[in-house]
Amino acid sequence: MKRGGRTLDRRHLVGFQKATMLMLAGIVVLHITTIILLLVATIDNAWWVTDTVSTDLWGRWEMKGSVWHYTNLKDYPEDYLQTVQATSVLACIFAILALFVFVAQLFTLPKGQRFTFTGILQLIACLCVMIAASIYTAELHSTDEQGGYGHSYVLAWISFVFTFLLAITYLVLRKKSE
């Protein structure tokens, strides 16, 4: 059945009920929060922290005397480190893409359909974060005695959980059909 062009969006947005709007807002807020968490995890320097060292995927802060110095990472297996870098950057990219695709699909998806493309992108982001955090846990700092995981590492795992929930939500959610 051919509809009159793309004026669906205006009529349908007006037709949404309040609860649906609220749920929609909630999902978008959660998605944006997840993107922010992913970005902080990738960029902020706190994957592995000790008293005098704070390190992440890109460089390392060392305290010499009482001054912090930024140095290159050392003693890391180079290939694993670069894989972690690549997958965490990819997770950010896919999460941001998923947000844009979700907004686009809100307007263009036919009624009663699932947001599969968004869900798939979000699932790939989830997979990438999982790969990044797992490789980091397994290969790097597995033999260090002192120190612990910093907040960026924790945020990476939290965003894994969030992306997974969001992916399931998108794959299950159907566009409201009047």
Binding site: M1, D79, T83, Q85, A86, L109
Partner: protein, 213 residues
Amino acid sequence: MLTFLALASVVLLGIVPEQSQAIVIYTGWERHALVGSDIRLSCSFFSWRWTSEDVTFSWTYRPDGSRDSISIFHYTGGAAYVDNKGPFRDRLEFVGNPSRRDGSILIKNLEFSDNGTFTCDAKNPPDIVGRPSSVRLLVFEKVPIQAGVITGAIIGVVLGLLVLIVVIYYLMRFLVARRVFSLSVSKHGKKKKEGSQQRQGPVPPADPSKIKV
């Protein structure tokens, strides 16, 4: 006309002020090599003058951690003189072409003691004012992976695959809509499935095919 141009360029070259007539020497910045392999250290220069017959190239070597440099190669008067008593005896070869302003040397069978800085100095009389340029040689047992190569490769491949899959998906949909392909699914089922897939880009003009029969 041509002779006029030639004369003009010669005159212009002659009246270019002295300060701009410095010779500029180019070598690499850093070279990585495996122990036991050969490496070619390139050196070339830029000069406002024509390449003279008395052009000279010389290479000196300063080991890592030392403050003295020794001379290992000199080319002058059309003949190349390579190191025959120093650390590179029998391992150095001249592979450059002085008339093309190339003064590169080849070091064979690298050892760990070859780590250091190689400096190339070239002179193109009367253009002799210039700074020698240095290249640092690093000899490895195993060439390390450069920072970011694997990262970039993984990101590039994944994003490329994503773009490819999306393009192929839309291409298939477009081709099916245009009836170039005919899939053996019932007309009703195929059209209903077609019409209800998510749409994001411009809808192909062949919309009449979506009308249910």
